[in-house]
């Protein structure tokens, strides 16, 4: 039926509306391609089959597009008239019976529900629609962090209406904007409205749409044909917004185009859609047929004098055809090669006639601009970038999907609040915006607002809206290489800079990832990139170097690491790392190597293999955080290999047999000849000890300044003996002593000994003082007696001094130090409670430590924060705690903890502060060392050198409170840097030797489940500081070693 006038449209709108909000129960299933990929089509088929047979009353079962919440697909909605629409998530085939059962009773299966929609603003209807209020237990959709900051304008129909039914589109106000235009607006007035809206093209360049339309309007056609084209060739890998817009709401695109055609005087329209989107193509074709049937396309639309029709063309797999002149060329039956501009398509486009091309999303914004007005539109977002933009948030982020936010929102709101932060155990490292044309933004720039100008300011572009989040397991050199591989293969070949330049850039990037590049190659790469950027004919070449330029700018360290260190810390570039475990270990211990040596019963060699990379093998074997396990391949089978316990066993057994003596003697003999240089190391913690171990063997003289009476730093003065017995620590510190270190105890750097004075006496200084100051609680009463620092408590206990522990202790904090302080206090006879401001699963402490603390009888209070400490006679009597509630996600990927308002008092006589540590910075002043913002010292990441050439720094002092292994790794790297500075050459490799062992890979994973070390029974523990975790037995060690899958063996190794 042809809709001839506004009156017919209005009555059809009422009919359509009643279809959506009828008296029947309405069940919708999201069968966009995402849903289908997750099994939504099976759910839909089963419902289609079963509903008529199982439910007597009429139920409307409707296929819809995607609501945008891709990580929760398949999504099904149930609307029982008079009630809110309820969305169910991750609906599987086997949930269908239960759902049908509930629907039959007109009820909702609340345990399957994700959220509810109580009201909705369709924007083209005069008022918001009140759908219904009910279901107290189900959250309103905007309460979910994923939706909280979103504003659905372009996506307002997707997931709610049937995209294959034009009447449902009309029902929510569709084509009313067209009607308004044809009856009330002249073409110039339409353009004026779009200008008021300040709409900018959504395809990537952000060109003002109204301006483009004006050019087109003013252009003269030679044969009275003018064309408008919808660019639906969304080729950016990682971006699929347009696909969803076309699949979920094709009529909105058509309406936008028809209005645009009227405004610009176009006679024909073309939608150019990539063939990789078969469902979108099908939906658009269907929509065009329906639009013709109802008279919105064809002659005399809605009874006016305006005639217009649309054809569809499918792309054929060429990314470059997203560029407008290439797109036009491919429609003209040529290969899709761009043409120089001017002349611009608005003057000479398709077949030489005026042509206007806009992106799908630009067209989609037009109907709402007409109905709500340009001024309304320009009030959303920021003045220079109005309206919303749909982004596809993908990659290593928890909540992936399509996100529509007002322009100008900060990027971190999208990544953390909406996205939920990192989806892996590693932190987010970078965000790639704009696909292969865009740039990589590092984590510290994530508070940049998302608008065209701010992003170009930091070297990125918004592009079509693809946002790919990357974590520390992604290698940025590999990412640059990946994008250049893509653009090089998609280059049309017409112009030399792109055709020849990109493969040359790729060659260099390949050599970086292979480890064969030289530092000078990076300069060539940069120069080449600028050349390609400035001289290419079209935007493909002009933007292809962006990933390279941004990674060179923000991630230069990774390039240098690949080239100089021949290492890929992310563990991606196969030629640059041995095995995942060795690569993840901050000390890069040859883990498969020492395990194989042990398997071959060569205990001493196995010990030496460990020792050369780790001078505290038995100590770390007790307390290391096992970074090696993060990517251990065995995890996917039955649990990671217990590497830590293994090197503990090897060290403990070697010590029991006194075999270490000979090995240390050997190391002493193998020391390189004396260099005559003197190094002062400030701090005898893990970083200092590790640096000393290497510097001494390199032939330098080393003096270690330690402010306390004994060496070890945190290892002695913070980690309690029940985790790390003193005799083990002493023996291993002895190695550094035997190698010739001169310890100066009770020597704190400050007034008497200053950096300046040390500079006169020594050739190099390494500052490794750690982070020993507890952060203040910042609540009232902190100066009362009985309020003590966790670090101080642990230090006093280590020195066997009275620690000031009362009878009823509360420890505030959730890290390992808090647990250590709590368990130590328990052993001194106190009743202990730990108070943490977030949930248990957000605690930074090791899970094993938390569980042991629970077993030992420590109480835990979660979601509380100290508000005030109360006392009498100047001594602590109780602590007032504030109950906390969860807020939005913060940059650590955890939910912020916010005060809830309610407080309560907890009686106690001791409050131990353990909420984190910071670094003492006072002695740095007057030293000339450069301090960056937030009290951090600037050092060269590879050599650890500060701005003063002979002063180096490393460990917790630089990286903040971290782990023992990381601190030791810092010391090891600093030693290398100091040696190069002192001698001018890099002979660090001389300190290591190659061990020869079999390259045997087990055919099948051997040995079964992970071995768990025995522990001291609970009764024997709590009154003393005896070591809890025992060394493996020999049998355990052997079976555990057999579990290693030998990931280090590469193809061809078996022959050597």
């Amino acid at each position: 039926m042809i809709v001839k006038n506004s009156k017919m449209l209005k009555s059809l709108q009422e009919v359509g509306f009643k279809k959506i909000f009828s008296e029947n129960v309405r069940v919708t299933v999201g069968v966009g391609t995402c849903g289908t990929g997750n099994g939504a089509d099976k759910v839909y088929e089963k419902l289609k089959k079963d509903i008529p047979t199982k439910i007597k009353a009429k139920v409307d079962l409707v296929p819809v597009g995607c609501f945008g919440c891709c990580f929760e697909e398949p999504i099904l909605s149930i609307h029982i008239p008079g009630n809110p629409i309820v969305l169910l998530n991750q609906v599987k085939y086997y949930n269908v019976d239960k759902i049908i059962d509930f629907v039959r009773h007109k009820e909702i299966p609340e345990d399957l529900a994700l959220c509810k929609i109580e009201e909705w603003d369709f924007l083209n209807l005069p008022e918001k629609i009140e759908i219904g209020k009910n279901y107290e237990n189900i959250k309103v959709w905007k309460e979910l962090p994923y939706f909280g900051r979103q504003e659905k304008i372009v996506l307002r129909h997707c997931g709610l209406i049937n995209p294959d039914d034009i009447e449902e589109y009309i029902g929510v106000g569709g084509y009313s904007a067209l009607d308004k235009v044809l009856n009330n607006f002249s073409p110039e007035q339409v353009i004026a409205e779009v200008e008021k809206a300040k709409l900018r093209g959504r395809g990537g360049a952000g060109f003002p749409t109204a301006l483009k339309w004006k050019f087109m309007r003013g252009a003269k056609s030679e044969d009275s044909h003018k064309y408008i084209i919808c660019n639906a060739d969304e080729g950016d890998p990682g971006a699929y917004m347009n696909r969803n817009e076309m699949e979920g709401d094709p009529h909105m695109v058509l309406e936008g185009m028809i209005i645009g055609a009227y405004a610009m005087g176009a006679t024909e329209g073309i939608i150019y859609c990539r063939a990789e989107y078969p469902l979108a193509v099908r939906r658009l074709r269907e929509a065009i047929l329906q639009a013709r049937e109802y008279g919105f396309l064809g002659k005399n639309i809605l009874g006016s004098k305006f005639s217009f029709d649309i054809d569809m063309v499918e792309g054929a797999g060429a990314f470059v055809c997203g560029e407008e002149t290439a797109l036009i060329a491919s429609i003209e039956n040529s290969a899709g090669r761009p043409r120089p501009r001017p002349p611009f398509p608005a003057n000479k486009g398709l077949w030489g006639q005026p042509t206007n091309i806009n992106n799908v999303e630009s067209w989609s914004n037009i109907p709402v601009i007409i109905n709500k007005g340009g001024e309304w539109f320009s009030s959303i977002g920021i003045p220079t970038c109005t309206g919303t933009k749909v982004f596809s948030l993908v990659g290593t982020v928890k909540n992936t999907g399509l996100v529509e936010i007002p322009l100008g929102t900060e990027l971190d709101k999208m990544i953390f609040n909406i996205g939920g932060g990192s989806s892996s155990v590693k932190d987010i490292k970078a965000v790639q915006l704009g696909g292969p044309s865009g740039g990589c933004i590092p984590k510290d720039l994530l508070s940049t607002p998302v608008d065209y100008e701010s992003l170009t300011g930091i070297g990125a572009i918004m592009g079509s809206g693809g946002v790919v989040v990357m974590d520390e397991f992604n290698c940025m050199c590999d990412i640059a290489r990946y994008f250049v591989t893509f653009t090089a293969s998609e280059s049309c070949g017409k112009c030399v800079p792109c055709r020849e330049g990109l493969p040359q850039a790729l060659k260099i990037l390949n050599s970086v990832c292979d480890g064969t590049a030289k530092l000078a190659d990076l300069d060539i790469l940069e120069e080449l990139s600028y050349m390609i950027k400035n001289c290419s004919l079209c935007a493909l070449g002009q933007t292809a170097p962006n990933p390279v330029l941004t990674t060179l700018k923000y991630f230069l360290n990774e390039y240098k690491e690949h080239i100089i260190e021949h290492r890929c810390s992310a563990g991606v570039c196969q030629k640059l790392f041995q095995s995942n475990c060795t690569n993840s270990c901050p000390l890069h211990i040859n883990i498969p190597g020492f395990i194989q040596l042990f398997k071959e019963d060569r205990l001493e060699e196995s010990f030496e293999c460990i020792l050369l990379d780790n001078c505290l093998p038995a100590s770390t074997g007790r307390i290391c955080r096992a970074h090696c396990n993060v990517k251990c391949r065995r995890t996917d089978i039955d649990g990671a290999v217990s590497t830590r316990e293994l090197h503990r066993y090897i060290a403990d057994t070697t010590y029991a047999k006194n075999k270490d003596e000979a090995i240390i003697k050997k190391l002493i003999i193998e020391k390189l000849p004396p260099t005559g240089k003197k190094v002062a190391i400030i701090g005898s913690g893990p970083a200092g000890l590790s640096a000393a171990f290497y510097l001494l063997r390199l032939g330098h003289k080393v003096d270690i300044y330690e402010k306390r009476a004994e060496a070890g730093g945190f290892l002695r003065y913070a980690i309690p003996p029940y985790r790390l017995p003193r005799d083990v620590l002493d023996r291993e510190i002895g190695f550094v002593e035997q190698l010739g270190a001169n310890f100066l105890f009770n020597s704190e750097i400050g007034d008497k000994i200053s950096i300046k004075s040390l500079k006169d006496e020594y050739d190099a200084i390494f500052i490794a003082i750690g982070a020993h100051l507890d952060l203040p609680l910042r609540c009232g009463g902190e100066d009362l007696e009985g309020v003590i620092s966790g670090i101080d408590v642990l230090e006093k206990i280590a020195k066997n001094e009275p620690a000031g522990i009362g009878r009823k202790v509360i420890v505030v904090g959730g890290g390992n130090s808090a647990i250590d302080a709590a368990r130590s206090a328990l052993r001194l006879g106190a009743q202990v409670t730990i108070a943490y401001r977030r949930h248990k699963w957000d605690m930074p402490a090791l899970i094993a430590e938390i569980e042991e603390a629970e077993q030992e009888g420590i109480n835990f209070m979660y979601m509380v924060s100290p508000e005030n400490i109360l006392g009498s006679n100047n001594h602590v009597k109780s602590i007032e705690l504030m109950k906390m509630k969860c807020g939005e996600c913060d940059w650590s990927g955890r939910l912020k903890s916010l005060p809830d308002g309610e407080t309560f008092k907890f009686p106690c006589d001791t409050v131990i502060k353990a909420i984190g540590e910071k670094v003492k910075m006072e002695f740095i002043k007057d030293s000339g060392i450069e301090i960056k913002q937030r009290d951090k010292i600037a050092i060269d990441p590879l050599s650890h050198q500060t701005n003063i050439p002979e002063v180096f720094a490393g460990g917790d002092f630089i990286i903040g409170p971290s782990t023992c292994a990381e601190a030791m790794g810092e010391g090891k790297n600093a030693a290398k840097g100091i040696n190069i500075f002192l001698t001018g050459k890099d002979n660090f490799n001389k300190l290591f030797k190659k061990f020869f062992y079999k390259a045997e890979v087990p055919e099948e994973p051997e040995s079964g489940n992970r071995n768990i070390p025995l522990e001291l029974p609970l009764e024997e523990r709590v009154q003393n500081f005896k070591e809890i975790v025992q060394t493996f037995s020999k049998g355990q060690a052997i079976t555990e070693a057999l579990r290693c899958l030998r990931c280090d063996v590469k193809k061809g190794d078996e022959k050597t």
Partner: protein
């Protein structure tokens, strides 16, 4: 639809051509529409059993549209969708888009090449289109399916598979191998039955 069996090199190349009558129908459908060449080539390729465009077909289309074969050849070699050599029985397309790449789709691709005993080195600069010697599988890559939330994504015979890993891939390939074996068995039985009669 006729099949010409021709032995070429080591392979038994079964060439397949779409009948001219069918091609005419497609041409008539899209003649004089914008982008007619792309639309015609795409649909004719779809009609071909082995999803490719033999030279004869290309020349025929050129004659009918009055476009020189060289120009059509330029279009066919420019766009990655068009194949000049036949595909295998089953086509596996691995998505190499950014989201899939960050989820290790390259390893999936390498695993697939290895698992199918394909000897050739893959060079992602050029279009990857490798068919196994037994013509059972063709392996291709695509820059992006636009299914990024389901990464890593793979398409097998037109059907999208989400959240792929090597286990799932192995299972799918084995399933197809089993089905093909059954088909062959049935065919043999039918042939021997025919002979008996």
């Amino acid at each position: 639809m006729e099949a010409k069996i021709e032995k070429k090199n080591k392979f038994e190349l079964i060439e397949f051509e779409v009948e001219q009558g069918e091609v005419d129908k497609v041409i008539a459908k899209y003649r004089n529409k914008p982008g007619e060449l792309l639309l015609i080539l795409e649909e004719v390729q779809k009609l071909n059993r082995y999803h490719y465009l033999p030279m004869n077909t290309i020349q025929y289309i050129g004659e009918k549209l009055n476009i020189h074969t060289a120009k059509i050849f330029s279009v066919v070699t420019f766009f990655s969708f068009f194949n000049l050599i036949p595909e295998g029985e089953h086509c596996i397309t691995i998505c190499r888009g950014t989201a899939c790449h960050t989820k290790r789709s390259r390893f999936l691709l390498e695993f697939l090449i290895d698992y199918l005993n394909i000897e050739e080195e893959i060079n992602e600069n050029e279009k990857i289109f490798i068919t196994t010697p037994d013509r059972m599988f063709t392996v291709r890559t695509i820059a992006c399916f636009g299914q990024c939330a389901l990464s890593p994504v793979m398409e097998l015979d037109g059907e999208i598979h989400a959240h792929m890993n090597t286990e799932k891939l192995k299972n799918l390939i084995e399933k197809i191998r089993k089905e093909e074996k059954e088909k062959k068995k049935k065919k043999k039985e039918m042939n021997s039955n025919d002979r008996k009669e």
